[in-house]
Amino acid sequence: MLDITSKPLVEITGMCKWYGEFSALHDINLSVHEGEKVVVCGPSGSGKSTMIRCINQLEAHQKGTISVNGAEVSPDMKNIEQIRREVGMVFQSFNLFPHMTILDNLTLGPMRNRGVSRADATDLAMHYLERVHIAQQAEKYPPQLSGGQQQRVAIARSLCMKPKVMLFDEPTSALDPEMIAGVLDVMIELAEEGMTMIVVTHEMGFARKVADRVVFMDEGEIIEVAEPEEFFNNPQSDRAQLFLSQLLGH
């Protein structure tokens, strides 16, 4: 199904990151091919978020290389915006712009980064708002929407940049339980359309359904990479077994 012979879209080799003396990430190696869906899981503080935040350089890494779509990203690069438009990101806390309407939230990126005209950007925005089932709210402001709706808007905002890969940083962790399904549905639809996705989540149902690979991290290292069935039914490492038993044990 996957064309593994092609050049990977995101390639991380030997990446390390420290906060002062504290080693946040150690020797991370991961490549994600076009159309692949990777779910990253692990206990809190294991470096999952930090790892995906390094991909679009919201966090700077200190050692190793990260390349996106063939171009290497580094902390001191000039045209980081050109990398970032290829990499959509959805945050745990949505990070919508509360002083702008939903529509303006969506059109800002395409207009300023890609130089799209306002009319085209509006068409684009409405198209994606319809896809996340929220088009009728376009003129409202983010605080007027529920958490689940805001997160769907955030997904649409990222899609407006027509990214090659989407990063999700615990997209459902800040949501009320009844809001989670709507957001996951949108993400599943996106996956079915062939979007390349790297998702940090605790939603193991989503991982089983969508993921091509599950990456298990602990204490800043990748411990295990496996297909979901393999990972959930037969985890190799003790730490993954412990994590899964804590997650599924109740």
Partner: protein, 282 residues
């Protein structure tokens, strides 16, 4: 601890208990207002008695030409009104420059450039830790002759740099008050640094910045009185000149203080109305 069973009233039965007119509360308010009136009366009386003991000759009937005169049906503004206009002009120009300086300094302090941070911090510390009067003399006696600027602009620039240092901290605080996630949101959709500040950070920091900044404008109007020592023809200077002419020191200082008060209180009311609209906008 013993078990506690909640006895809370259900929400739909919580009725506000308004008993109408409260005589006790009204009496207390009345007493307090009475106390305030009494204190002001005593102060006023002491001033009046003191002035009488000095045999001060109150001449309130002479003040009208200080404001305006009508000659041949033409209104000619008096020195106090012209002084007030100069004060407002001085404070207005200085306010605009102070805000520009404030933004520049705030961004310099927040920047990653070491030289920017050093220059901004040096400026802030120098301005905040020397007396305003000394700064004014520096501008008037040192910088003005060097750069060939007149006394009005020396006063404007001095006030601008003084208030600019306070504006810088207000603006910096407002920018830091914007949530970190907003920067990341802007980064994630590929905005460059300028666009990120222009469309996302600054618009959200304005509600935090504007109220204290308008407060700064009020103190700028008050501080502008100091330029009278370099004889800029503003309100305080106009007062000084009138006293030299008429010896009506008591009346004129009351008038000058009253005029400053009228301007600043008007501004304060304006600011609080403005703040209320901002609050509603949330």
């Amino acid at each position: 601890m013993r078990g506690y069973v909640s006895q809370a009233t259900p929400r739909n039965r919580r009725i506000r208990d308004d008993t109408g007119f409260d005589l006790g509360q009204f009496a207390r308010t009345l007493t307090q207002v009475g106390q305030a009136v009494l204190v002001f009366f005593i102060i006023g009386y002491l001033i009046w008695r003191g002035a009488q003991a000095m045999e001060y000759n109150w001449q309130w009937y002479r003040i009208e030409p200080f404001f305006y005169r009508v000659i041949d049906g033409e209104t000619i503004w008096g020195p106090l009104v012209r002084g007030l206009v100069q004060t407002l002009k001085l404070a207005g120009i200085a306010g605009v420059i102070a805000i520009l300086i404030g933004f520049a300094t705030a961004f310099a302090r927040l920047s990653s450039s070491i030289s920017g941070r050093v220059i901004a911090t040096t400026y802030l510390e120098a301005v905040r830790n020397t007396p305003l009067l000394v700064q004014l003399f520096l501008f008037y006696f040192v910088l003005a002759p060097i750069f060939g600027i007149d006394r009005f602009w020396a006063g404007v620039l001095c006030l601008s740099f003084f208030e600019g240092s306070f504006a810088a901290e207000i603006i910096r605080g407002g920018i830091l008050g914007v949530d970190k996630g907003q920067y990341e949101g802007g980064d994630a959709i590929g905005l460059n640094k300028v666009d990120k500040y222009r469309f996302i950070i600054i618009p959200q920091s304005l509600p935090l910045i504007l109220p204290p900044l308008t407060g700064l404008l009020i103190s700028l109007i008050k501080h502008s009185a100091i330029v009278s020592v370099i004889a800029v023809s503003e309100l305080t200077t106009a007062g000084l000149n009138l006293i030299a002419d008429t010896f009506m020191a008591f009346e004129i200082w009351f008038l000058v203080a009253g005029m400053y008060l009228a301007v600043t209180i008007t501004l304060s009311i304006g600011v609080s109305l403005f703040e209320r609209t901002l609050q509603k906008g949330r």
